[in-house]
Structure formats: structure tokens, C-alpha cells
């Protein structure tokens, strides 16, 4: 019982029962569209989340367009024609929005390149220097542990 109550509470939407369409398929499409449209007076809420008057009118218009037989894209265009790209919660990909779409990956890429160079320089500075020829010759001259001499006992001459 509690579970049912909790499940019922989950979609905390502003969509009022009186606004909903009788056809569940159309209503589902309206919800899909409503989640993608930005309420024009509340900065970062979808029209489905907002209780603003304008959001209510926009939800109703979405349903009216759908009931009139519009496709989802046509409904989106209807809103963009009135409120501009601002109304889309996911900004469209065009010349004006290139900076918006590419600045974040660019920063990420630059950081990765920077980190890579820094890591390379660090490992070059911290890693052990390769043995010189003289050192290698001395190392080869040392007796093996297998021959009864413990390496730690080998002393410099």
C-alpha cells in the first residue's frame, strides 16, 4: 500500500488532471514534449515541472496541437516560432551554439593533453637513470646469489 502511494508520488509534475488528454498515447507524447520545453519565466524548469501561468498555457497548446494531428517536431516548431530556441531545454546544434557544444569537450581535451605532458615530465624526472657502461660492468662482475655469495655481502673494492 505504501509502495503504491510512493509510486504515485514519484512524478511530481505540475500537469493538472484537467489538462490531460483522454487518449493515453497522445498524453504520453505531450509529456515527452513537455519535458523538453523550457518554461519561459522560470529559467530552468520544463513546462511540465512549472506551475507558472505561461507553462500551463504552453502545456495546453501542446495538447491542442497534438489533438489537431501535429507531429512532435511540428509542436516543437510551433513553440520555437513563438519563443525562439530558448524554449528548447536541449539547445539545437547550429553555428550560434558551436561554442556551447564544443567548449566543454575542448576544456576536457586540453586538460587531458596537459595532464599527459605533466605526467610524462614527472616520470622522466623521477624514474631511475639507466646504468652507465661502467656500472653495468661492475654489476656483471658481482657474484650471483646462487654461487653461495649473498648479494648484500658484496662490497665495493
Amino acid at each position: 500500500m505504501l509502495l503504491v502511494a510512493l509510486l504515485l508520488c514519484l512524478p511530481a509534475l505540475a500537469v493538472e488532471p484537467s489538462e490531460m488528454l483522454k487518449d493515453p498515447v497522445l498524453e504520453a507524447r505531450a509529456r515527452e514534449i513537455g519535458r523538453a520545453l523550457r518554461c519561459v519565466v522560470c529559467q530552468n524548469q520544463s513546462i511540465d515541472d512549472s506551475t507558472a501561468e505561461v507553462a500551463h498555457d504552453m502545456r495546453r497548446a501542446v495538447r491542442e496541437r497534438l489533438a489537431a494531428g501535429d507531429s512532435d517536431a511540428q509542436v516543437m516548431d510551433f513553440m520555437v516560432a513563438r519563443y525562439g530556441d530558448y524554449v528548447l531545454l536541449k539547445p539545437p546544434f547550429k553555428t550560434r551554439t558551436l561554442a556551447l557544444w564544443f567548449s566543454t569537450p575542448a576544456v576536457l581535451l586540453l586538460s587531458v593533453i596537459g595532464l599527459w605532458f605533466a605526467a610524462r615530465r614527472r616520470s622522466a624526472a623521477l624514474g631511475p637513470a639507466p646504468l652507465s657502461d661502467a656500472e653495468r660492468a661492475r654489476l656483471d662482475a658481482l657474484p650471483d646469489g646462487k654461487n653461495g655469495v649473498i648479494p648484500s655481502e658484496a662490497r665495493d673494492p
Partner: protein
């Protein structure tokens, strides 16, 4: 090279300070959502409101307002002035307001509107890309939207409105 790297935080700070002061001084409004109506043919008004006024060879102001809206009260004297001094044609549309409340409000304050319309369900407003009240549009003699103000008209806005209003007549 690594010496210069120590300047990086300072440089970041300088860039941020530059951006913030530009934001403050340029009068940029980050909350502004802009308008796609400007430069377009004005959306159609109901015949009772628009016929004979829009595209009649004279610029028209369209003002969405409501009697319950305080900024509308604040901008009301501007419209009175535009009408009496400039002879501006102003179409008033009451948004989500009871007609009797609108009429009482206009009776009390004065009615600067050539015609008065009612948009109780907000359907006209949606076609005009309205986000709330008050909002005002200036439509030129050819029926093209030239200005779209979101929010009340102020003394300063008259500077942009008047040349268009006088020039277009």
C-alpha cells in the same frame, strides 16, 4: 616557462574580473530571454482588435497588461503620455484578467487604449510569444514588429519608442 605558470591563477582572476565588470557595466541582462518576434510580421490579432489599425500606415503599440499586475500600474502613465502627447495608437490586451476588473482599473486610472481586448485564457498571448505581463510591442506601418519589451515601459524606453513612432507615421 614554469615561472610563467604561476601567473595562471592571476590571469584567470583577471579574465573573470573583466567578464564580471563587463556584465555589470554593459547593462546585459542574463535573465533576458530575448524575442523572436522582432523583425517579423506581427502575429494576427482578433479582427475586433487589429482591423483598421495594424498595417494602416501608422505604427501601433500593442500592450499586454492586467489589473492585478503592479508593473502594469507603474507603466500606465507612459501610455497615457504616449497617447495624449504623441497621439500614439495603442491596442490594450488584458491578459488573464476579469473584464470587469480591467474596466474598473482603466476607469480609475484612465484609458489610453484605442481598442481593448481580453485574453482570459492566454491564447492570443501565446501567439505573440508572451512570457507574462506587462509586455509591449511596437509594430510599424507595414505590420512588422520593431520592438518587444518584456516588462514595464520606462522613461528610458521612450527614447527608443518615440523615434520609431514619429518616423513611421
Amino acid at each position: 616557462m614554469s615561472r610563467l605558470l604561476f601567473l595562471l591563477p592571476l590571469l584567470t582572476l583577471a579574465i573573470l574580473a573583466g567578464f564580471f565588470s563587463w556584465s555589470l557595466l554593459s547593462g546585459r541582462d542574463p535573465a533576458s530571454i530575448g524575442s523572436v518576434m522582432v523583425g517579423r510580421a506581427a502575429p494576427t490579432l482578433p479582427a475586433s482588435l487589429g482591423d483598421g489599425l495594424v498595417k494602416s500606415g501608422k505604427p501601433v503599440l500593442v500592450n499586454f497588461f492586467a489589473s492585478w499586475c503592479a508593473p502594469c500600474l507603474a507603466e500606465h502613465p507612459m501610455f497615457e503620455r504616449l497617447k495624449s502627447r504623441e497621439g500614439a495608437t495603442i491596442i490594450g490586451i488584458a491578459w488573464k484578467d476579469k473584464p470587469e476588473a480591467t474596466r474598473a482599473w482603466l476607469q480609475r486610472l484612465g484609458d489610453p487604449f484605442a481598442r481593448l481586448g481580453f485574453d482570459q485564457d492566454g491564447k492570443i498571448a501565446l501567439d505573440w510569444g508572451l512570457s507574462g505581463v506587462p509586455e509591449t510591442y511596437l509594430i510599424d506601418a507595414q505590420g512588422i514588429v520593431h520592438l518587444h519589451f518584456r516588462g514595464p515601459i520606462t522613461e528610458r524606453d521612450l527614447g527608443t519608442i518615440l523615434p520609431l513612432l514619429r518616423g513611421g507615421s
